[in-house]
Symmetry: C2
Subunit: 155 residues, 2 copies
């Protein structure tokens, strides 16, 4: 180990990656949610479900869970709220009548396309001062981090 290696008995939170990511991520998510929650009566998990269904319709609840890294209970709850509100439609697969087939309703699709610019606008603001090179670097570094996760299996 080199001499500029950190000592392993001193923790500086301000330098500790997991901590920094957590603070940053929570602040960003909260800010974005502030942009649509009240206006559309839409919680963050509900928006996530809508976002994947907008991108790829006719997923099952389990597939939504996979794609969003939400757990199945969270998906189930978001799905029932969205059904109630008429923002998604559900039917069940003929070949396996347990498996749901979810898609945005017409109304849901309309909201989806209203929320997207809010979300992308926020992201654009984050990247405002980033060069293309920096964006690419960040992309690569985040991918690398995701791959480094101790428990990173394909689940």
């Amino acid at each position: 180990m080199s001499e500029n290696e950190k000592a392993n008995d001193t923790l500086l939170l301000a330098d500790f990656l997991p901590y920094r990511l957590s603070v940053l991520s929570n602040r960003i998510s909260r800010s974005i949610a502030d942009g649509y929650e009240e206006r559309f009566q839409l919680t963050l998990p509900e928006w996530r479900v809508m976002a994947v269904l907008g991108e790829e319709p006719d997923l099952s609840a389990g597939q939504v869970a996979d794609r969003t890294a939400m757990d199945k209970v969270a998906v189930s709850r978001a799905v029932s709220k969205l059904l109630e509100a008429g923002r998604i439609e559900r039917h069940f697969a003929n070949e396996d009548r347990r498996r749901s087939v979810l898609a945005l309703s017409e109304d849901g699709n309309k909201i989806y396309h209203e929320v997207i610019p809010i979300a992308l606008g926020y992201e654009a603001k984050l990247f405002e001062k980033f060069s293309e090179t920096e964006k690419r670097q960040l992309d690569e570094l985040l991918l690398k981090l995701s791959a480094s996760q101790v428990g990173a299996t394909d689940d």
Copy 2:
């Protein structure tokens, strides 16, 4: 705008920074917490409070909240649990008897130094395949993102 600019009516979650950060951060935090929660009967907010007090003793609850980006209620709860468990000590400032003065107890300090290597070890694993350059890049990019936050005031 260049022609490789993203359309603003299409959202790909896999490319959406706030989403990627959230998934990554939650996975990392959960993994680390798995390393100490059960072993030390320590929740994440409790560990955060211990971590700042280990780094800088004699902070007030409010200062802990500032440093950790936790809200004051979360700090208050963590503090009472830690007091109960005898892991921190509290007295009150003479010049302002509302203001608490918090520090790790002897026992708390011992636990603190046992948890640190777990946390740093996890971080090291994340960075295992990172060059020094990449680490510096990540550091700079995260700082830049923190500065870009829409609501980024000095609170």
